[in-house]
């Protein structure tokens, strides 16, 4: 089993297609929707975690590509600007997954993209604008 977090971009034409249904039923993937911004008639964006065998993952990815859906790795959706960050820790208690965490020896705050679910809770909490979201 492999896990893959990706950002899907839906062209306005496919926003109303049951894409996720096909991923699950036709390609046997587990789909965990972490975040979605989809308006009919507009470009849609969705952060999903896909889980399945390697072959099923590539089959699902190929299907998405055929539908004209953009697939990008999650990295970069949320960016922690280290030189702007003061390691104040204001964001730490609002992060539900521990993606933003503080080392209580050095008191430096770090961001772990693998644990981020793009909930965006941290973005407005950081007073130094050290967290930017491209979502």
């Amino acid at each position: 089993m492999k896990k893959k977090k990706v950002v899907l971009t839906f062209p306005p034409s496919s926003v109303e297609d049951p894409i996720i249904y096909h991923l699950i039923s036709d390609h046997g993937l587990k789909v965990n929707i972490l975040r979605a911004a989809i308006d009919p008639g507009k470009l849609g964006r969705m952060v999903v975690e896909l889980t399945g065998e390697e072959s099923r993952l590539s089959g699902g990815t190929a299907y998405l590509e055929r539908q004209g859906i953009g697939i990008e790795p999650l990295a970069g959706e949320i960016r922690h600007l280290e030189d702007q960050c003061t390691s104040c820790t204001a964001c730490v208690p609002v992060c539900p997954t521990g993606a933003l965490d503080v080392n209580r020896e050095t008191w430096m705050v770090s961001y772990d993209a693998d644990r981020c679910v793009v909930c965006l809770s941290c973005v407005d909490v950081c007073p130094y604008r050290a967290i930017v979201s491209h979502f």
Partner: protein, 391 residues
Amino acid sequence: MARTIEEINEKIRAGSVVVFTAEEIIEVVREKGIKRASREVDVVTTGTFSPMCSSGAFINLRQEQQKMKFGGGYATLNDVPAYAGLAAADIYLGATALPEGDPRNNNGRPGRFRYGGAHVIEELAQGKKVLLNAGGYGTDCYPKKRREQMIGFEDMNEAFLFNPRNCYQNYNVAVNLSDKPIYTYMGKLKPRLGNANYCSAGQLSPLLNDPMYRTIGIGTRIFFCGTEGYVVWNGTQHNPDVPRLANGTPTAGAGTLALIGNLKDMDPKWLRAVSFTGYGVSLSVAVGLPIPILDEEMMRFVSISDAELKAPVIDYGVFYPTGEGKPKLAEVTYEELKSGTIEVNGKKVPTGSFSSYAKAKEVAGYLKSLITDGKFFMTQAVQPLPGPNHK
């Protein structure tokens, strides 16, 4: 044992001064005891880096060939209004001032407050130019009525920070007992005790290391945003009379400092504009205060650790804004706050801080190196700050 400021400065000159930060000294005292540590150590450095809203800059603008009287007129810098009710060419720009109707700030509730006085001050410190827009009513001696130009430090005779209230000695821990999220100067507080925010460097905090103001007073030289600054007065709302623990430290916000320093010499690294969603703009400043170890009592004060410092937990949902309800929900130590969770009303509440302990360590460490390198000398206060039970 007793030691004078002159003796310490002599040792700084000779390169033999012994300095520790207020964090390091805790371990030193644990090992050696108060007596021996106070014999061996001359200075302990403190530090803090945190939003301090009561900050602002006095700016004196160079006149053009035809002069204009700012006083009684108006002035904005990048659309942020400055106070112009002073002499012909002096203005004061407050950190929290906001441009009128700016979409970066009031884009619906909760506003994002992306730009204000603090951002202008930050840009000036970064060496950038900002747009001055000013007007006066015109007099025989100051005939010009409008001025619009890009200005930077080179267009100012003076630019200094004058902060009426910085360095709060201890502060509230903010929580929210209500049922809806609230946006405060202590950050976003989730409903029903969802999180707790504090704002102090605790054991590294300047005034918590000289809790009775024995060495700090008017005229004390400090590290201020990358340059030297001075304590000019007690800060506004200075309140030395709050209840204290047996070790002398106050159990709530108590003393404050009014600070001054040359903005033109400040390092933008230590002067940062901040935006509090739903609340407003503020300025984060760095302050390092060196504490001379005059005697054993001073050593006892600086060796107080996070475990022996307490802060009050206050409900910002109802009590803080309206004065109704329970004034204090709990008292917690900084050790508990820094562990990541505190207990309030039987619930485990995750904590976050607005004061950066990492930066406080950096400030205290840097000030220590300045002193050991013979680049920073201690001062004798001209006048002590009002202490507990002063008349």
